[in-house]
C-alpha cells in the first residue's frame, strides 16, 4: 500500500520536476500512475482473495493533533480500490499519447500541471476508499475535487470550461458541507476521528438523529454521484476534462460517492441490530429510478458525444442506486431477506465495476475520435468506422455493453438487479411490492432507451458518410491509446462471459458489509459458470442462466450463419450507391442524430419541453421555399426550474443590497450607535 502511495507521489513529484519538458513529464508521470495502479491492484486483490473479514490497516503520520490518520482496507474498500485501479491502468496507458495528440499547443508547464493533477487525483481517490478515519476521508475527498477541478479547467482555457469547473466546485462543495456536518456530528460524539470510534458512537443514536445524519450524508454523496436533480454539474464538467480524465471521473469518481453511501448506510450509521429505517432504502431506490430514467432520456437528445456519455453516467448511477436501495430495504428483514439483500448488493457492486469498464471504454473511444477530429458534435462526424476501425469496434463493444445486451457485462448486472427487484416484489405484497416492480419496469425502459441512444451515437458518429472534412481526414488513434481501450474492452467481455469468477471478488465486500452470506454463496452456488438468484422466500426455485454457455452458443450459431451468409456461390459483393429514390446520394441524405431522436422527443415532450423555431426563406410567394432553417433545443427541467431561479434570486438580492448602501459617513456612525444602543438593551440590562 505504501508502494502505491509512493508511486502516485513519485508521479506527482516527477511531473513537477519535469515541468520543463512536457514530453518527459507526460511519460514519467503516467508511468508512475501506471505503477501506482498496478500496486493498487495488488493491494486490493490481496485483500479480496485473502481470508474474508481481514482488514489491512496502516497508520499514517500524525499530521493533526486532534485526529489520528490511518488507512484501513476491508473488503468494501478493496473492491472500490480494485475498480479505481482497473480504470487507472487504462487511463495511464492512454494518457500520454492523448495529451500530446489532442493539445500539441499546450506548453510543457501546462502538461506537467495536468499530469501532476492526474496523479494527485488518482492518489486521493485510492486513499479515499482506503481511509480509516474521517479526517483522511475528508482531506482526500476535497483533494479529489480540487485535482479534478484543475484538470477540468486546464483542458483549454476558454470561459466554457471555467464555468463548468465553477459549477462543479460549488455544487460538490455544498455536498461537502453536508458531509462535514454528518461526519463531525459523529466525531464530536465519539471524541475521535477513526471509523471504529464513529461506529461505536453511532451505536446509541436515537432514530431521528440517525436518519437525519444519513440523509445529510446521502445528500452530500448524491451531489458527487450526480443523482437527479443534483446532476447539473456532471454533464458540463465531465466532457470538459481530458478524455482519459473524463473516463476516470465518470467511471470511478462517481463510484467513490457510492462507496461513501455504502460506508455510511451499512457500516457507520447502521443500527447495531435490526433492519435499517425504511425511509433510507426507499429514498435511495426512488432517487435511483428517477436518475436512471431521466439520465437516459436527456442523454438521448445530446449531440455532443462526451455530454451524451456523461448523461449516461447519471443513468447508470441510478441503476446502481436501485440495487443499493433495494439492499437497504431488504437487509436484515426476516426470512430470505438477507439472501435477497446480498443479491441486490451484488448486483449494485457488479454494475459498479461493469459501468467503470464500459463507460471508461466509451470515453476513451470518444477521446480518440476527439483528438483525431477535434469535433465533439456528432452531427459533424460520420463514416469514421472505415478510417478508425479499432476505435469504432471498441466503441460498438462498449455500446452493446452499456445497453445491457447479452452477452456482455452490462446485461449480467442488470439481470441480477431485475432478479433482486422481482424477489423484493414477491416479498412485499401491497404498494411496496408494486413500487418495486414499477421501478423494474422503469429499468427495462431505461435499457431500451439506452440501446436507442447508442444506436444513434454509434451510427451517426462512425457509420454512413463523413459530413465534414475533419471526419473525412481522420486517422486511427496511436497504438498506446488503442491498448488502453483494448484493456477495458477485454474487461467488458470477461465480466460478461464469465461473471461467475468475478463473484469470488465480491464475497468480501458483500459478506463484510451485510454480515450475511457472500456473493458467490448466493449467486454462483451452482458453480462459477452458472448465475442463479433465488426469488422465493425459500429460494428453492432459483432462476439460473449461464452466460458462458450462451456465449458459446452464439459463437457456434454465428459460425453457421457465416457459412449461410457467404451464400451458395460465394462471389465478391458488387458495390453500388445507396438507394435514395434514384437521386445521387450525398452526405446530406444521411439521417442526422436530431432526426433520429426526434420521435422519442415527441413521445416524451412533457419532460423535454422542446423548443423549436423554423425560419423559411421564400422567394416572394410562400409556395416557393428557398431555404428552411430549423433550430430546436431541449431544456434540463431541474436546471431551468431550480438552479437558474435560485441563482437569479441570490444575484438579484445581493445586487439590490449592494445598491442600497450609500457611502455616507453619518450612516456609518449611525450604525455603530444603533448597534450599541440595541446591544445595551438586549444584553446590558441586568437579569
Amino acid at each position: 500500500m505504501l508502494l502505491m502511495a509512493a508511486c502516485y507521489g513519485a508521479g506527482a513529484l516527477a511531473s513537477l520536476l519535469a515541468r520543463r519538458s512536457g514530453r518527459l513529464a507526460l511519460g514519467v508521470g503516467h508511468l508512475a500512475a501506471l505503477a501506482g495502479a498496478v500496486a493498487g491492484l495488488g493491494v486490493s486483490l490481496g485483500v479480496l482473495l485473502g481470508d474474508p473479514g481481514r482488514t489491512l490497516t496502516q497508520a499514517l503520520p500524525d499530521l493533526f493533533p486532534f485526529a489520528r490518520l490511518s488507512l484501513a482496507v476491508d473488503g468494501l474498500s478493496a473492491f472500490f480500490l480494485l475498480v479505481i485501479s482497473l480504470v487507472a491502468v487504462a487511463a495511464a496507458l492512454y494518457g500520454p499519447a492523448y495529451l500530446r495528440a489532442h493539445s500539441p499547443a499546450a506548453g510543457p508547464a501546462r502538461q506537467a500541471a495536468q499530469v501532476l493533477a492526474l496523479n494527485v487525483f488518482l492518489g486521493c481517490m485510492a486513499f479515499l476508499v482506503c481511509a480509516g478515519d474521517a479526517m483522511t476521508f475528508l482531506l482526500c475527498w476535497e483533494g479529489m475535487t480540487l485535482a479534478s477541478y484543475v484538470l477540468v479547467v486546464s483542458e483549454d482555457r476558454d470561459g466554457e470550461n471555467a464555468r463548468a469547473g465553477l459549477l462543479y466546485m460549488v455544487m460538490t462543495h455544498g455536498g461537502t458541507a453536508l458531509l462535514l456536518i454528518a461526519f463531525l456530528a459523529l466525531t464530536e460524539r465519539a471524541g475521535a476521528f477513526d471509523f471504529a470510534a464513529l461506529r461505536a458512537a453511532a451505536g446509541d443514536l436515537d432514530g431521528t438523529t440517525r436518519t437525519t445524519l444519513f440523509f445529510l450524508a446521502f445528500g452530500g454523496f448524491a451531489t458527487k454521484a450526480g443523482v437527479v436533480p443534483l446532476h447539473v454539474w456532471l454533464p458540463r464538467a465531465h466532457p470538459a476534462a481530458p478524455s482519459h480524465v473524463s473516463a476516470l471521473m465518470s467511471g470511478v469518481m462517481l463510484k467513490v460517492a457510492i462507496y461513501g453511501m455504502l460506508r455510511f448506510g451499512f457500516d457507520l450509521l447502521a443500527p447495531v441490530a435490526g433492519p435499517l429505517p425504511a425511509s433510507w432504502g426507499w429514498t435511495v431506490l426512488v432517487a435511483g429510478t428517477i436518475s436512471a430514467v431521466l439520465g437516459v432520456l436527456y442523454a438521448l437528445q445530446q449531440h455532443d458525444l462526451k455530454r451524451l456519455l456523461a448523461f449516461h453516467s447519471v443513468e447508470n448511477i441510478g441503476i446502481i442506486l436501485i440495487g443499493v436501495g433495494l439492499a437497504m430495504i431488504l437487509w436484515r428483514t426476516e426470512g430470505a431477506g438477507g439472501v435477497l439483500a446480498t443479491v441486490a448488493l451484488t448486483a449494485a457492486l457488479l454494475h459498479t465495476v461493469n459501468h467503470a469498464a464500459f463507460k471508461g471504454l466509451l470515453f476513451l473511444a470518444a477521446g480518440s475520435v476527439l483528438c483525431r477530429t477535434h469535433v465533439r458534435n456528432i452531427e459533424e462526424l460520420g463514416g469514421l468506422a472505415r478510417r478508425m476501425p479499432w476505435t469504432a469496434g471498441l466503441f460498438l463493444l462498449g455500446a452493446v455493453a452499456i445497453s445491457g445486451l447479452p452477452p456482455l457485462n452490462g446485461f449480467v448486472s442488470e439481470w441480477l438487479t431485475f432478479q433482486a427487484l422481482l424477489g423484493g416484489a414477491s416479498r412485499f405484497h401491497g404498494p411496496a411490492g408494486l413500487g418495486i416492480v414499477f421501478s423494474a419496469a422503469m429499468l427495462a425502459l431505461t435499457g431500451g432507451l439506452a440501446a436507442a441512444c447508442f444506436a444513434k451515437a454509434f451510427g451517426v458518429t462512425f457509420l454512413g458518410r463523413a459530413r465534414t472534412p475533419q471526419a473525412e481526414h481522420a486517422t486511427e488513434a496511436p497504438p498506446s491509446m488503442i491498448a488502453g481501450m483494448v484493456w477495458l474492452g477485454a474487461l467488458c467481455v470477461a465480466l460478461g462471459v464469465a461473471p461467475g469468477y468475478a463473484m469470488r471478488l465480491l464475497d468480501a465486500p458483500t459478506a463484510g458489509l451485510l454480515h450475511g452470506p457472500g456473493a458467490s454463496a448466493v449467486v454462483t452456488a451452482r458453480g462459477p459458470l452458472v448465475l442463479s438468484a433465488g426469488l422465493t422466500l425459500s429460494g428453492i426455485s432459483a432462476t439460473t442462466i449461464s452466460m458462458t454457455v450462451m456465449a458459446a452458443l452464439l459463437i457456434a450459431l454465428a459460425a453457421m450463419a457465416w457459412i449461410l451468409r457467404r451464400g451458395v456461390r460465394s462471389a465478391a459483393p458488387r458495390t453500388a450507391p445507396t438507394w435514395t429514390s434514384g437521386m445521387i446520394p450525398t452526405a446530406r441524405f444521411d439521417y442526422t442524430a436530431t432526426a433520429f431522436a426526434k420521435p422519442l422527443r415527441f413521445v416524451f415532450a412533457a419532460l423535454y419541453r422542446p423548443r423549436r423555431e423554423v425560419t423559411r426563406e421564400t422567394a416572394g410567394t410562400p409556395y416557393v421555399v428557398r431555404r428552411i432553417r430549423y433550430a430546436g433545443e431541449i431544456v434540463d427541467l431541474s436546471e431551468t426550474q431550480i438552479y437558474h431561479r435560485v441563482q437569479r434570486g441570490i444575484t438579484a438580492l445581493s445586487r439590490t443590497i449592494r445598491a442600497r448602501s450609500t457611502g455616507r459617513i453619518y450612516g456609518y456612525i449611525g450604525f455603530v450607535l444603533g448597534t450599541l444602543f440595541v446591544a445595551l438593551l438586549l444584553f446590558g440590562v441586568g437579569q
Binding site: I181, E188, L653, G663, Y668, T675, L676, F683
Partner: protein, 487 residues
C-alpha cells in the same frame, strides 16, 4: 533576558521609524526596512523560546503570555513578508507615480510606527496602555490609508479615523467600567493590569462588567471590522497602499480581536462564560451573513478582499462564541491562518492590479496567460480563503465547526455553512473569471518581479504547511493560549 526583550521588541520598529527619516535613498530605505523586520522576527522567536521554557513574563505595563505570542508571531511574520514585498512593489509604484520618490521616507517611517503601536497592543498588559496603543494604530494607519492623497484615499481615511475613533472611545468607556469594578474589589490604588484583574475576575460585579464588555465589544469590534460596525473597513482596506492593506487586514483587525479576547476572559470569569459567548456568537453570525451579498456582487478586487476579512473575523468570533477548548483553539488557529492567507491574497491582488492598471475585476482577465505564477498564487489564496483543503483555513474552519457541533449550535452551524458555500461560489467565480479567459491587450506583459513573488512564496508555503499539518510546537503554543482564555 525575556524581560529585556519585552521592551526591546517595541523599540526596534520605533527606532527604525526614526532612522528612516535620516535618508532619502530608496535602496537604503528598503534595506533598513527588511533588516529591521528580520531582526523583529529573530527577537520574537527568541522570546517565544524563552516563554515556552519559562512561562509568561511581565515587565511593568508589558506582559507576554502564550496568547499574545500567537498574535505576535503573526504580526512579525507578516511584517517581514510585507517588507520583502515592498521592495518590488515600490519600484512599480514609483514608476507609475503612485508614490512620490521624495516622500518615501515618511512612508517607511509611518509603516514602522504603525508596526510599533501594534507590537505594543499585543504586548500590553495594562488595559489603558492597550487602549492608547490601539488609538495609536488608528492614527498612524489612518495617515497611511490616505497616503496616496487623492480624493478617494482621503475619504476612506476620514471614514476610517472617525468611525474607529468612535469605536475606540467606546472601548475606553468599557475599559473604565471594568477598571471601576476591579478597583471597587481591590480597594486602595486599583490597577489596570489585565493579569491582576484576572486574579480577582470572579469576584467582580457582574452587572457593571457586563455593560463594560458590551462597550468593549462594540468599540474594539468596530476596529476589528465586525458587522454591522464594519462599513469603514472595505473603504480603508481598498484605498490603502497594498502593503498597508495586507497589514490592516492581516494583523490590525486581529489586534482588536486580541483586545476583545482579553476582555472576554474577564467577562467570562465575572458573568459566567455564557454571556460573552452569546454576544460574540451574535456578532459573528451577523458578520458572516452581512458580508455575503457584498462579496457576491462585488466589482472591486480589493473591496472584495475587505469584505472577506469581515466574513473571516465573523468566523473567528463564531469560534470564540462556540467556546470550549475546540472552538477557541479553532478561533486562534483561524486568526493565524486568515492573517497569512489574506496577506497573500492582497499581495497577489496588488500585483494583478498593477499589471492591469485597474481594480475592476471585469477588466482583469486571463491573468494566467500574462502572469502565470502570480495568477497561481491568486487562485491558491482564493481557494484557501474559500476553505478548500489542503490549505490552512480549511483546518481552522473545521475546528470552529467542531466547536459548534460539539455544543449543539445547529442553527448557527446551518447559517454558517450556507453562507460559506455561497461565498465560496462568489469568490471562485471572481477568481476564475480573472485567472482564465483572454487577456486584454492593455495588460502589462513584463516579467514578474522577484521580491513580491518571494514574499508570496513565503506566505503560501506557510499556508500549505499549516493546511497539511500542525507542527507539535505550534500546537502546544495554541493549546496553552487556549488555556489562557478558557482557563
Amino acid at each position: 533576558m525575556a524581560e529585556t526583550l519585552l521592551w526591546v521588541l517595541p523599540l526596534v520598529p520605533a527606532v527604525t521609524a526614526l532612522a528612516m527619516l535620516t535618508t532619502r535613498s530608496r535602496r537604503i530605505l528598503s534595506a533598513i526596512d527588511v533588516a529591521s523586520s528580520a531582526v523583529l522576527v529573530a527577537l520574537t522567536l527568541l522570546l517565544a523560546r524563552e516563554v515556552q521554557a519559562g512561562g509568561p513574563r511581565s515587565l511593568g505595563v508589558f506582559r507576554v503570555d502564550d496568547l499574545g505570542l500567537v498574535f505576535l508571531l503573526l504580526l512579525v511574520v507578516l511584517t517581514l513578508a510585507v517588507s520583502i514585498y515592498t521592495v518590488g512593489w515600490l519600484g512599480q509604484a514609483v514608476a507609475v507615480g503612485n508614490m512620490k520618490a521624495e516622500s518615501l521616507r515618511s512612508y517607511f517611517a509611518l509603516v514602522h510606527a504603525f508596526v510599533a503601536t501594534m507590537v505594543v497592543t499585543v504586548l500590553a498588559d495594562n488595559l489603558g496602555v492597550l487602549w492608547i496603543a490601539m488609538e495609536g494604530t488608528t492614527i498612524t494607519s489612518a495617515v497611511l490609508v490616505g497616503y496616496h492623497g487623492h480624493r478617494h484615499g482621503l475619504e476612506a481615511a476620514w471614514k476610517y479615523i472617525i468611525v474607529t475613533t468612535i469605536g475606540i472611545s467606546f472601548g475606553l468607556f468599557g475599559t473604565v467600567l471594568v477598571y471601576a469594578a476591579a478597583a471597587d474589589v481591590m480597594g486602595g490604588a486599583g490597577t489596570m493590569s489585565w493579569s491582576a484583574i484576572m486574579q480577582v475576575a470572579p469576584t467582580l460585579d457582574p452587572g457593571i462588567v457586563r455593560i463594560g464588555f458590551i462597550f468593549v465589544m462594540i468599540g474594539y469590534g468596530t476596529k476589528a471590522g465586525l458587522a454591522p460596525m464594519h462599513l469603514w473597513l472595505p473603504d480603508a482596506h481598498s484605498q490603502a497602499p497594498t502593503p498597508v492593506s495586507a497589514l490592516l487586514s492581516g494583523v490590525l483587525i486581529k489586534c482588536a480581536l486580541l483586545a476583545i479576547i482579553r476582555f472576554q476572559a474577564i467577562a467570562a470569569a465575572a458573568c459566567g462564560p455564557a454571556f460573552p459567548a452569546q454576544v460574540l456568537l451574535v456578532f459573528g453570525l451577523i458578520s458572516v451573513v452581512v458580508a455575503t451579498p457584498f462579496i457576491l456582487a462585488q466589482r472591486d478586487l480589493k473591496r472584495l478582499l475587505g469584505y472577506h476579512s469581515v466574513e473571516h473575523v465573523g468566523i473567528v468570533a463564531l469560534g470564540l462564541g462556540f467556546g470550549g477548548t475546540v472552538g477557541t483553539y479553532g478561533a486562534l488557529l483561524h486568526v493565524v491562518n486568515h492573517g497569512i492567507t489574506k496577506a497573500l491574497a492582497f499581495f497577489a491582488a496588488g500585483t494583478a492590479i498593477a499589471r492591469y492598471g485597474s481594480r475592476d475585476m471585469r477588466a482583469i482577465r486571463g491573468l494566467l496567460a500574462v502572469a502565470p505564477i502570480g495568477a497561481t498564487f491568486l487562485m491558491l489564496a482564493a481557494l484557501s480563503l474559500a476553505g478548500m483543503p489542503p490549505f490552512s483555513i480549511f483546518v481552522s474552519e473545521l475546528m470552529v465547526l467542531r466547536g459548534g457541533i460539539g455544543h449543539g449550535q445547529w442553527v448557527a452551524i446551518a447559517i454558517f455553512l450556507v453562507m460559506v458555500v455561497v461565498i465560496f461560489a462568489g469568490l471562485l467565480h471572481h477568481a476564475g473569471a480573472m485567472a482564465f479567459g483572454e487577456a486584454p491587450a492593455a495588460a502589462g506583459r513584463e516579467p514578474e518581479a522577484w521580491s513580491p513573488l518571494l514574499a508570496m512564496l513565503l506566505l503560501a508555503a506557510i499556508m500549505v504547511l499549516l493546511g497539511l499539518t500542525i507542527p507539535a510546537s505550534f500546537d502546544a503554543l495554541l493549546q496553552r493560549a487556549t488555556e489562557v482564555i478558557v482557563g
